[in-house]
């Protein structure tokens, strides 16, 4: 256990993997679409953290530029995703994924 945290990059690997796993747990456990969207955002943030840690470790700014673009894409994706969610709520009246089991209701 002593050699697990001598390198602080190991700490970032652990933290990012735990946050990513919690995001996946959120998608698997919950039925509300909003919570599933938020778990996806949490997974993206975990990946951002790990990319930044490795970018600082290798002293290469390309990782942080990639994080910048991931944030831009996540913002655009949340816009469209919430619009689709509103349309689903308008048409079916519920936001539970149990009511969306078939591709056409």
């Amino acid at each position: 256990m002593q050699d697990l945290f001598t390198n602080s990059l190991n700490g970032y690997i652990f933290l990012s993997s735990i946050l990513f796993t919690i995001g996946i747990l959120g998608i698997l456990i919950r039925k509300n679409i909003i919570i599933i969207f938020m778990s996806i955002e949490m997974m993206l943030n975990a990946v951002n953290l790990l990319l930044t840690a490795f970018s600082v470790h290798h002293n290469n700014p390309d990782g942080q530029v990639f994080v910048f673009f991931i944030m831009a894409v996540a913002a655009a994706e949340v816009t469209i995703g919430l619009t689709i969610l509103m349309m689903i709520y308008r048409n079916t009246g519920s936001v539970s994924i149990d009511d969306l089991k078939k591709l056409k209701w």
Partner: protein
């Protein structure tokens, strides 16, 4: 001092992330996710990536989570009761998540070069250095991301219109 700060921010991030997926009210989940984003921004500051910390707070906690709150409050989604999945499915999901965690940690740890640890002391995360790389090496993705935002905005407006012909 740095180790204590890292540990404190890590505990706050993990605790609020667990609270996001286990809270019943979706509005509280959004607030816990904002706390998670703030602690991850604190981690960015620890890594000397100041630009990314500020952009994280402005874009994620400031814009995306506010959008989530708007949608939840406009559609009154915190009043609808949510049935929960049966307990054995939750247990199997936790076991699968634990296995994924072990696999991820085992796979990524082999890629870290174990020489000296220059995690602190470099300024590649400052605004000038990052801007230089962004506007010289990554100019094309930068311009294309503006087209991406334009298409997302047009798509959101087009999808959100009610069909007036149906009345």
């Amino acid at each position: 001092m740095d180790k204590f700060l890292f540990l404190f921010l890590a505990v706050v991030a993990i605790a609020s992330a667990l609270a996001v997926i286990f809270t019943k009210n979706p509005m509280y989940s959004v607030l816990y996710l904002i706390v998670t984003f703030f602690s991850i921004a604190g981690h960015f500051v620890l890594l000397n990536a100041h630009f990314l910390a500020i952009v994280n707070i402005i874009v994620y906690a400031g814009a995306i989570m506010v959008l989530f709150l708007f949608v939840i409050m406009l559609l009154n989604l915190n009043k609808s009761p949510e049935q929960h999945k049966p307990f054995y499915i939750q247990l199997v999901a936790c076991i699968a998540g634990g296995l994924l965690l072990v696999t991820l940690v085992g796979a990524i740890r082999g890629t870290a070069i174990q020489h000296g640890d220059p995690l602190i002391g470099s300024d590649i995360g400052s605004v000038e250095k990052l801007g230089q790389v962004l506007f010289t090496n990554f100019l094309l993705p930068f311009e294309i991301s503006s087209v991406l935002f334009l298409s997302a905005m047009i798509g959101a407006v087009m999808l959100g219109k009610k069909n007036l012909k149906d009345n």
